[in-house]
């Protein structure tokens, strides 16, 4: 016969989703009879909620720390082309010990497995372990792949075949990098600039500050003192630091969108200075200012999906989401902006929820309603807690959408229909809100989705 103290361990583990089903049943049976343990269960819920809230800034600090360390690691890698191996790394054939051989073979095998995993469904040329390791260990890199949402390949400019390129892979000068049907990627360039490649895009990275777009779409940010030069369709685009541009290469034309900053576009026959917000098409050496200018945010919306699922760069993602939201109700084609926000799916919900929480007293009802509607439509069960909190919003429409989202995710309404959340019956709302809170406290383990770190190269 177990004592209450032992059931406290069960309670704690159940609260954290760590208790086996069999022990859960045993615990339930005990709780039915023991008011002391029932009270303790409530205590676990409340202290856990308080701790999670109190630690929110520390979690943000941990993410910021990760970014700082990654920057240091990259700087170390750039400073020393063949860094970490140390004394164990074999330099001469005659110096190899048995252990060295084992380690080298293991490293080769690991590289091979990674490459095979990356390309098992790709019709592209097969990766070879030798290529992966050779590419990773030679010459001062011009850049490095920060993340990829699918298989990305690269090769030296005058060599074949392509080989697999995983997160963190250094990219030598004069390398061709290409994405396929299911991959986008981000490259950090030596010197601090950054480029992102859309699906089905191919670039040649000549030098850290010179990128050629062979096909597809490229986004580039020039953050460092060294301006980046983008070459495509016989044109040269020199971005003054800091600036942000998007280039789309078509077989017989090229489109340039200056998102921010200023750039100089030279076709060989003419030269143009372009400022943020401007976009031009170049065809047959002629620069044509697009008759209808589309919003750079929409033109570059393809990068949002990359930002939504990563820990770093959340500030950029929030800003982009807020930029899209700001156009709703203002721009002529508001629906386009709403569509972009919806396309982000559950990954786009956190900045929208944060927006709703931070604008409780702001007179932006229309935008808030759109944000709530999207959150209600796209959220996954891990957002149930956020939706319950939105039931207390001052806006009847926001409450309505929160209730609608909860009904969609749980199949429940706790006695108050979504429509009724718009009403004036404050007492009824309060009672239903309490029920939702109690229900969520009792059931969140069942809906708990531990957010697993997914390697960026596996992101969809």
């Amino acid at each position: 016969m177990m004592h209450c103290e032992e059931y406290l361990l069960y309670l704690n583990a159940r609260h954290d989703g760590e208790l086996a089903a069999e022990q859960c049943a045993e615990l339930e049976a005990h709780l039915a009879e023991c008011s002391h343990c029932r009270a303790a269960a409530e205590g676990f819920d409340s202290i856990d909620a308080e701790l999670r809230q109190a630690f929110a800034p520390r979690r943000a600090a941990a993410l910021a720390l990760t970014d700082r360390v990654l920057a240091e690691v990259r700087a170390m890698s750039d400073a020393a082309p063949t860094p970490a191996p140390g004394p164990r790394r074999p330099r001469l054939f005659g110096e190899l010990s048995f252990a060295d051989w084992g380690r080298t073979l293991l490293a080769s095998a690991a590289g091979f497995l990674l490459a095979v995993a990356l390309f098992r469904s790709s019709p592209a040329p097969q990766a070879s372990p030798g290529h992966v390791l050779t590419a990773a260990t030679s010459a001062q890199p011009a850049g490095r792949m920060v993340l990829a949402s699918g298989p990305v390949q690269m090769r030296a400019i005058n060599q074949a075949p392509f080989f697999g390129c995983v997160d963190g892979s250094p990219i030598k000068p004069a390398s061709v990098v290409r994405t396929g049907d299911n991959a986008r990627c981000e490259l950090s360039l030596a010197g601090g600039n950054m480029v992102r490649l859309d699906r089905n895009t191919e670039i040649t990275l000549h030098k850290p500050d010179r990128v050629e777009v062979n096909s597809g779409r490229l986004w580039a940010a020039s953050k460092a003192a060294t301006p980046i030069e983008i070459v495509s369709y016989g044109c040269s685009i020199k971005a003054d630091s800091p600036s942000e541009v998007a280039v789309e290469r078509q077989p017989k034309s090229m489109r340039l969108v200056v998102v921010d900053g200023a750039v100089n576009l030279s076709t060989g026959k003419e030269s143009k200075q372009l400022a943020g917000g401007q976009q031009v098409d170049v065809a047959e050496d002629k620069v044509l200012v697009a008759s209808s200018q589309s919003d750079p945010l929409l033109e570059t919306a393809w990068i949002n999906g990359m930002l939504a699922n990563r820990s770093a760069g959340q500030q950029e993602f929030r800003q982009r989401v807020q930029g899209l939201l700001a156009q709703i109700g203002t721009a002529k084609l508001s629906l386009l902006y709403e569509d972009e926000l919806r396309r982000l799916g559950d990954g786009g919900a956190p900045p929208l929820v944060a927006y709703l929480e931070s604008t409780q007293d702001a007179p932006q009802e229309a935008k808030r309603i759109v944000a709530a509607r999207i959150v209600a439509d796209v959220s996954q069960p891990r957002r149930i807690g956020d939706l319950v909190a939105l039931l207390e919003d001052q806006s009847p429409e926001v409450r309505y959408h929160a209730a609608r989202g909860l009904q969609r995710l749980t199949g429940r309404d706790q006695g108050l229909t979504a429509e009724a959340w718009k009403g004036d019956a404050a007492a009824e709302r309060e009672a239903a809100y309490q029920k939702w809170q109690e229900w969520w406290t009792a059931n969140r383990d069942k809906y708990a989705v531990r957010i697993q770190r997914v390697p960026a190269w596996l992101m969809s």
Binding site: E50, P57, R68, V69, P85, A107, P455, L458
Partner: protein
């Protein structure tokens, strides 16, 4: 997901960039380990950064790549101990700490004092109580709340069983509840 051990072997084979994924996986837990020891949020971040960079420099000495996490954790502990040893003057006993202790213990780097002061009283009180827990309990709380981890994740770093993690978390939460209710009386 690529195993830590495979990533370690890649780094040992010369692919330093593979260390970036290891940093992403471990930084929050390493920060928690440091925070539990140096008791200053800002210093803990410095110590954790130093530990992770030392880890990269010393990775060729790691004989069992599967034990990367505990190994890095050991480095973090040594970095903190070195700091504490060298900075005796900075070390302040918990009893001697005044009201500002919670702020120092929890302040985000770059956070202005005014913003810290504006934090909700209950939250500050709770965090001050966490700071005052015995180290083994404080450590498990920090590790559990710094990121979404399982008992097994915490157990791996601490070199204990998942059952021990459960026991420590249970006790730590109970102590916090008791101390907070005592304050409210």
């Amino acid at each position: 997901m690529t195993a830590d051990s495979d990533l370690v072997r890649l780094v040992q084979g010369g692919q330093t960039s593979a260390y970036e994924e290891l940093v992403r996986r471990w930084s929050a837990r390493i920060l928690a380990v440091c925070h539990a020891r140096v008791r200053s949020a800002h210093t803990a971040e410095e110590m954790a950064q130093e530990a992770m960079l030392r880890g990269l420099r010393a990775i060729s000495s790691l004989n069992d790549p599967a034990k990367f996490g505990p190994w890095l954790c050991g480095i973090a502990v040594r970095v903190c101990l070195d700091w504490l040893k060298c900075g005796q003057a900075r070390q302040v006993s918990l009893e001697a700490l005044g009201d500002g202790h919670a702020e120092s213990w929890l302040a985000q780097s770059g956070e202005a004092p005014d913003e810290v002061a504006a934090k909700h009283d209950d939250e500050r009180r709770l965090l001050a109580e966490v700071a005052g827990l015995p180290e083994s309990y404080r450590e498990v709380i920090l590790m559990y709340y710094y990121e979404d981890v399982t008992y097994a994740d915490v157990a791996q770093v601490l070199g204990v069983s998942a059952a021990t993690v459960n026991a420590r978390l249970t006790k730590a939460r109970a102590m916090l509840r008791e101390r907070l209710s005592g304050l409210q009386r």
